[in-house]
């Protein structure tokens, strides 16, 4: 025991130790001399040393064989204690050996030598009697065996880890299709736990469409036709989703060479499948787009070699197929140039573009047949800056250009029309942004011609601005027509505004979408003022109507009053007239001369009163415009005869003579006979009254210029010229020698002239002082 670094075999793990009690240890309990043991094993006999409390604290080597020395590296250990040789040896070794020494129960265990890096199987057995403190130890080198076991364990661990952690699914499947072992990845792929999947068969999760292929692959292997099979198939996951997998099936052979089970390796290729489908889809889509587009497409490489073209390109240009099959860009170009209206210009541009591959071009080409193509060219590049080729797009825009031309002409016509309209006209885009005003707008507002961005607030009356603009916004949002009256500043009259009627209508396309707003501002200032004036006049008219109604009511009341007043005035006079008249007519006997004279005076006074009442009533009527003529063909000769006959007694009384001159032919005219009669009565009565007794009254009836002429002449005192104008005035009395003696109301001529006027006729007077007066009526 000279080498301190060397230690005797000592236990490494209690789990690997079996101190006593097992049948195996009893079987291996040997008490043999050193030379008995195999030469490959180390052997020694030790004596345990105890302290005062009989606890083992050291041991001494009593006997060792050569193998022991070789295996432990201890030199000349006999007679020395282990603490002398290995001072740091663990005390548990003393306890293990001490127990054998004290109890006599042999022990065996495996442990390792850290210094040697080897494993030993140790047999310990008491050597000698029960008092003996000696223990025989036998060491068997089991290092190689232990290493093999460890390697196997590690290999199994690695295999298990690999099985469970690989990125592919691995599963064992029995020959009848039942899953017998699966890894986690496989569980992840199919969405089942391992416990769930182990209760199923491969048929349960295989897509029905892939079942037959799967069975064929397994049968090929089972029948020895193939060492393995790979196929792409679908599993149906637990959640119902379909998962695409690549499956490789191989047999697992037993010692006899028979197939124990299948080993399947499963890779989830769903993503790859989807990518593939997506790529195919995109290719198909691109192809469809290529052919469905209205554009002709030509792709050439950097050297001008035709790579591809679509059918539309061929149709547009009418290029022969053989030319395109040659895929020669120059030949195609030459053909195209024969079709162009300006081939040199095109060629110049073409060459320029090929020399400037970074430029994107967009041009219009005019063909000889009148068509117009739009050409768009762009270089095609690889991921870097390397030119891959060119893409040329051609589109027949003839119709569009024609439409644009028509539209432009239409707009020109519209603008011309708008400029010739009296209103201010404007247009706006669908969002309500104004984009056009006509000439009248700029003339009125004074804005710079062509400007469309000015705010209306600049010219709107402050009271109208908000409501006007809000209404416009609402129309733009709802599409409802716009109509509003507002005031614009009149720059020609600072500080004043003019009223306008603003209207706007949306212009819609065939789908109903608003494409434009068309608006007008019509100057309604004059109309508005007229309407205001009209309103004022209507109010005035209403007031006047009301006043008229009141006046009518008053007039009716007055008429009613006149009617009743006349009745009430006449009634007492009527009583006087009747009773005085009865007295005068002898109803109460003969009267004395004096009585008669008095009664006659009373009677005449009463008559004058009645006459005044009658004249007042007539004047009241005619002044109130209440006289309504009832015209009929009137024979004036007969009328005059009747009037003269009625007044005959008065003429006789005054000893006057009446001479009537009338033509043989009847003189007629449309007149109200009752009214004309009263006029004539008054005139003839006047002629009589104002003529002295014994004089002649002359009545002339004639026709002149289609009119009936009646002239009544007296031989009275005459009327001064200055008084003639007063004759036809109300209550006029002319001073003359007879006025004081002749009764009169001063109303007769006034009323008579009114009646003649109502007939549309005239009445005039001529007079000579002391010779007489003539009143002439023309009807």
């Amino acid at each position: 025991m000279t080498k301190k670094t060397t230690s005797s075999p000592k236990p490494q793990s209690t789990t690997r130790r079996s101190i006593a009690g097992s049948q195996e240890s009893k079987r291996n309990n040997r008490h043999a001399p050193v030379g008995f043991f195999p030469q490959d094993d180390g052997y020694c006999v030790i004596e345990l040393l105890f302290d005062a409390e009989q606890k083992p604290v050291n041991y001494r080597f009593l006997e060792v064989n050569q193998k022991f020395k070789q295996k432990t590296g201890l030199k000349n250990p006999v007679g020395k204690t282990v603490l002398e040789l290995v001072p740091d040896i663990e005390k548990r070794w003393f306890e293990a050996y001490g127990e054998v020494a004290l109890t006599g129960k042999p022990a065996h265990f495996e442990d390792s030598s850290e210094v040697m890096g080897r494993w030993f199987h140790v047999y310990a057995s008491r050597f000698g009697g029960s008092e003996s403190r000696k223990v025989a130890l036998l060491f068997t080198d089991i290092s190689e065996h232990t290493a093999a076991q460890r390697a196997l364990r590690e290999s199994e661990q690695h295999l298990r880890a690999t099985f469970n952690q690989v990125a592919v699914g691995i599963a064992h499947m029995s020959l009848d299709g039942k899953w017998t072992r699966v890894n986690q990845k496989f569980c992840d792929i199919v969405g089942y736990s391992s416990k769930e999947i182990l209760s199923q068969r491969f048929q349960d999760i295989t897509h029905p469409d892939d079942f037959a292929a799967s069975v064929r692959a397994a049968n090929d292997i089972r029948d020895g036709q193939a060492a393995s099979r790979s196929l792409e198939k679908r599993y149906i996951r637990k959640d119902g989703r379909v998962v695409w997998v690549s499956v490789t099936i191989a047999p697992s052979l037993g010692r006899t060479g028979r197939i124990k089970h299948f080993i399947t390796v499963i890779e989830d290729i769903t993503s790859r499948k989807q990518d593939a489908e997506s790529l195919g889809y995109r290719s198909a889509l691109l192809e469809a787009q290529n052919e469905a587009t209205p554009e002709g497409i030509l792709i050439v490489d950097a050297k001008g070699k035709i790579l591809s073209y679509n059918r539309r390109f061929v149709r547009l240009w009418g290029i022969p197929k053989e030319l395109l099959k040659a895929k020669d860009d120059n030949a195609a170009l030459a053909f195209a140039m024969t079709k162009l209206h300006h081939p040199k210009k095109f060629l110049t541009r073409f060459n320029y573009l090929y020399k400037h591959p970074k430029e994107v071009s967009h041009e219009e080409l005019i063909l000889k047949d009148g068509r117009i193509f739009e050409r768009y060219g762009a270089p095609v590049r690889k991921s870097g800056d390397e030119l891959y080729g060119w893409a040329w797009f051609f589109q027949d825009i003839t119709v569009r250009k024609q439409a644009e031309t028509a539209l432009r002409k239409s707009e020109e016509r519209f603008r011309h029309l708008a400029d010739s309209m009296p209103q201010m006209v404007w247009t706006a885009d669908p969002d309500g942004r104004l984009d056009y005003y006509n000439r009248q707008w700029y003339e009125f507002t004074g804005f710079h011609k062509g400007e469309t961005s000015q705010s209306w607030r600049l010219i709107l009356h402050p009271d109208d601005a908000d409501i006007c603009l809000e209404a416009w916004q609402e129309s733009v949002q709802t599409g409802q027509p716009y109509q509003m009256e507002y005031r614009f500043k009149d720059r020609h009259k600072p500080g004043t505004y003019r009223w306008f009627l603003g209207k706007a209508l949306p212009v819609r396309d065939q789908s109903g979408q608003i494409v434009k707003w068309f608006g007008t501002c019509t100057d309604i200032d004059d109309i508005r003022r007229m309407l205001d004036r009209k309103h004022e006049l209507e109010e005035m008219a209403a007031d006047l109507r009301e006043q008229h109604e009141q006046l009518l009511a008053l007039s009716d009341a007055k008429d009613e009053f006149i009617t009743l007043a006349s009745h009430q005035l006449r009634t007492p006079a009527t009583g006087v007239k009747q009773f005085v008249g009865m007295l005068l007519e002898g109803y109460e006997g003969k009267l004395t001369k004096g009585q008669r004279g008095m009664l006659e005076i009373a009677y005449e006074s009463n008559e004058r009163q009645l006459k005044i009442i009658d004249d007042l009533l007539k004047v009241a009527h005619v002044d109130a415009g209440r006289v309504r003529l009832s015209k009929s063909p009137c024979d004036f000769g007969k009328l005059l005869t009747d009037v003269i006959r009625e007044q005959q007694s008065a003429f006789q009384k005054r000893h006057q003579k009446v001479v009537v001159h009338k033509p043989a032919r009847v003189v007629k005219a449309e007149a109200d006979p009752r009214m004309i009669r009263m006029v004539l009565e008054n005139l003839i009565d006047n002629a009589s009254k104002y003529s002295p007794e014994g004089k002649t009254i002359t009545v002339d009836l004639s026709r002149k210029a289609g009119h009936a002429i009646i002239a009544i002449s007296d031989q009275g005192v005459g009327i001064y010229k200055k008084d003639r104008d007063k004759l036809f005035q109300k209550f006029s009395r002319i001073d003359n020698p007879l006025s004081t003696t002749v009764s009169g109301t001063g109303l007769g001529l006034y009323w008579g002239k009114k009646i003649i006027d109502l007939h549309g006729g005239t009445i005039s007077v001529t007079s000579k002082i002391r010779q007489g007066t003539t009143f002439t009526i023309s009807l």
Binding site: S566, H567, R570, T574, G575, Q578, F579, Y587, I613
Partner: protein, 125 residues
């Protein structure tokens, strides 16, 4: 001689007309309002009726409406009133009055003359 009905609310005038007519040899029957006039007319069946217009109970126009001149072709009605408005004249004539005379314009003699002519069915003055 004929029966003449005087319908007049003014006592004095009613009496005056009665005297005038009786002196002319007629039988005068008097009434002092429209209602009484209708009763007397139905009772006496007069040849002539002198009819005032402005009366209590029933006016002369109401009398005419109710009396219905068309049913009494033998009776002549003379409206004798101091209401001289044209509308009243027309209304009375339309209701069957034969003559329309303003009281104030008719003297006793004239009145007697008119009635006599009517009774005798002569041309009236």
């Amino acid at each position: 001689m004929a029966t003449v009905l005087i319908v007049e609310d003014n006592d004095h005038l009613n009496n005056a007309y009665k005297i005038i007519l009786e002196k002319s040899g007629h039988k005068a029957v008097t009434a002092f309002d429209g209602d009484e006039g209708l009763q007397q007319a139905a009772k006496t069946k007069p040849a002539v009726i002198l009819l005032d217009l402005l009366m209590p109970n029933k006016t002369g126009l109401e009398f005419l409406e109710e009396y219905d001149a068309a049913k009494h072709p033998e009776t002549r009605i003379i409206v004798l009133t101091n209401l001289g408005e044209e509308k009243q004249v027309k209304a009375a004539m339309a209701l069957g009055a034969h003559r329309y005379i303003l009281k104030a314009h008719a003297s006793p003699q004239q009145l007697a003359t008119i009635v006599n002519h009517i009774v005798k069915k002569e041309i009236e003055p």
